[in-house]
């Protein structure tokens, strides 16, 4: 089932938006191994979304290559690619009313095409996806009546209805509260661990990435800044330099499987935050600067 070789791989990948002097992705070589939970990190504008679009074929590289299963992404027939890769994009605005079930059923398009009617297989895949995301009881609700967390689950369910080997999510927890954010990360790691899916997540949440990802990649101005395990990448010097803000790294206190994973604590620059009273200037030393 698991294909040989990397899920995604890029070599000297470059992408320049028209009219921009600096490439958004600048000579990036990286790979995502099958079965991993791969977190893509980086400051605003570092190229996370651009890299995802290149990996997904929404953009065409201006130089270098981006492959999925050793074949350039742009050479994949779109429907076949969509049977392998399920995507939860960042921006989606629901203009016309849709129920959760209708939305999730769209995930069957790569299997059904423009004409074939929904069969038993399709209905099973939809039901399984609804169950996996724990939204069975919401199936007939209009999307507009859902909370942000529920809507996000519906979009993950749509991607699961594609029955993909690989899931790609662009900031899936950007607008979610702690409860829904935790639930989303736990769901995604379960999908990797129990269902053998490769999961790629672009996120701003360094701490959840450090706890749940098996590999992380840190982008800085379109270039690879660091890649490896969370312990290797989530380092005070590296994070401080890339985000240009002093941080300390502490170990997650547990309990749980992720006890001891590195957690980023941004420091107050001017000595002591508003709530810390007279704790002094010791926290203000910029760790990442030289």
């Amino acid at each position: 089932m698991t294909p040989a070789g990397p899920t995604f791989a890029t070599r000297d990948l470059e992408f320049r938006y028209p009219g921009q002097a600096r490439p958004a992705i600048d000579g990036l070589t990286m790979q995502v191994d099958p079965g991993s939970v791969f977190a893509l990190l980086g400051p605003n504008g570092s190229g996370k979304s651009t890299l995802l679009k290149l990996l997904l074929g929404a953009l065409t590289p201006t130089a270098g290559e981006a492959n999925y299963l050793n074949l350039p992404v742009n050479r994949w027939p779109r429907r076949e690619y969509a049977r392998h890769v399920g995507v939860v994009p960042q921006l989606e605005q629901i203009t016309f009313p849709l129920t959760v079930r209708q939305m999730v059923a769209m995930g069957r398009y790569p299997h059904m095409g423009a004409w074939r009617a929904e069969g038993a297989n399709d209905r099973q895949a939809i039901d399984r996806a609804l169950e996996r995301c724990e939204i069975v009881e919401l199936a007939e609700r209009p999307l507009g009546t859902l909370s942000g967390g529920e809507r996000q689950r519906a979009r993950v369910a749509r991607a699961l209805a594609q029955e993909p080997d690989t899931l790609v999510l662009d900031e899936p927890t950007a607008a979610l509260d702690i409860h829904h954010e935790m639930a989303m990360f736990e769901l995604l790691t379960q999908l990797a661990r129990d269902d053998g899916k490769t999961v790629v997540i672009a996120t701003h949440n360094l701490n959840l990435a450090a706890r749940y990802a098996t590999r992380v990649l840190l982008l800085d101005q379109g270039r690879l800044s660091a890649a490896g395990t969370p312990v290797e990448v989530v380092d005070a010097d590296i994070i401080g330099r890339v985000y240009r803000w002093p941080v300390a790294i502490v170990e997650h206190p547990g309990p749980g499987a992720d006890t001891g994973s590195p957690q980023v604590v941004p420091l107050a620059r001017a000595g002591g935050g508003a709530g810390s009273g007279g704790s002094g200037g010791s926290g203000g030393r910029p760790t990442g600067s030289q």
Binding site: L56, A58, R78, G86, P89, I94, M106, P110, A114
Partner: protein, 330 residues
């Protein structure tokens, strides 16, 4: 097919049949139902037969076809642009088609080369669509309802100015005909115009209905549609070409009739949801009924004078537009 789906199709079919009967039986000439029926059967006196078979029936048929074209293009534009207010008239596309057609009329080429009018209208529609989309994308993205509408309105105003400029060079008769036609009018209906429009509508509507599922996906988002396996660029290109063709053909035979593509799909979405596999054929049926009805009103409400059909649809459409706009910008 569930029972409620069957009932809805039945209601639409009845509506279509009733409006067709109404528009053939009701008119400025005072004909009894019996006279109309015997004329339809090829009996009765010459004048009645002419009124029924060469005026009322082709006019009803033309209203039905134009209504179907406009409602179908409206529904498709709304999906492609993810904007419930998108409509050929509001987007300035009807205006572009009108410039093409008026140019041919003013140059006096319409009589000599009858095929030139729809071709020029098509060229005008394509140019208008390109300009509006370019402006909207350049000024902040087609997703922004207000920018897109503003671009459409501004381009529409520009085309109106061009038409008025062209009409300065027209003689009085051409001028009157062109103005009347710009307000949207079905009085020129002939069997020739009916068959011309049918020749466009049948293939274009089949192509568009075949793309109904991709439209469902694009209505959620273009990236989403791509990631679900749609060839978004190809679908959009084909859809824009087909809708331009439909709008241009409608404008060529009936002038500029606005708001049909706004009112009809909106009403259907309220009762039937937004699955384009249903919405597109239903829009064609309801659009046909709607325009036959409005045209019957336009022909009879001030008889013997006749109102331009486009005036009636605008009077009905503007309030709907305002309500939709207020809802969409909330």
């Amino acid at each position: 097919m569930t029972i409620s789906t069957a009932v809805r199709w039945l209601v639409l079919s009845l509506l279509l049949a009733m409006t067709l009967v109404a528009s053939v039986f009701v008119g400025a000439a005072d004909l009894s139902p019996g006279e109309v029926v015997s004329a339809l059967l090829g009996r009765g006196d010459e004048t009645t037969r002419t009124i029924v078979l060469n005026l009322r029936v082709p006019r009803a048929a033309l209203a039905a076809l134009v209504g179907a074209c406009l409602a179908l293009s409206g529904a498709v534009f709304q999906a492609l642009l993810r904007n419930p207010l998108a409509e050929p008239y509001i987007l300035g596309i009807s205006g572009g088609a009108a410039v093409g057609a008026v140019t041919v009329i003013v140059l006096g080429l319409g009589v000599q080369f009858p095929w030139l009018l729809p071709v020029a209208a098509f060229a005008g529609a394509i140019v208008a669509m390109g300009v509006v989309l370019r402006i909207a994308l350049g000024a902040g993205g087609a997703l922004d309802t207000r920018v897109l509408l503003l671009a459409g309105v501004v381009v529409g105003a520009f085309f109106n100015a061009i038409i008025l400029l062209l009409l300065n060079f027209a003689d009085a008769n051409t001028f009157r005909a062109a103005v009347f036609w710009m307000m949207g009018n079905l009085s020129g209906a002939t069997w020739r115009s009916v068959s011309l429009l049918a020749a466009y509508l049948v293939p274009a509507s089949l192509v568009l209905m075949a793309l109904a599922r991709p439209f469902n996906l694009i209505a959620v988002g273009e990236d989403t549609a791509l990631y679900l396996g749609t060839r978004v660029g190809t679908v959009k290109l084909v859809a824009y070409l087909m809708t331009s063709l439909l709008v241009a053909a409608s404008v060529a035979v009936s002038g500029v009739i606005g708001f049909v593509g706004l009112i009809v799909p909106h009403a259907l979405r309220l009762v039937w949801g937004s699955d384009h596999r249903m919405l597109l054929p239903a829009s064609m049926m309801a659009g046909a009924s709607f325009l036959m009805l409005t045209d019957t009103v336009a022909r009879t409400i001030a008889a013997p004078a006749e109102l331009p059909t486009g005036v009636v649809t605008a009077l009905a459409g503007v309030p709907v537009f305002v309500v939709l706009l207020m809802r969409s910008t909330k």
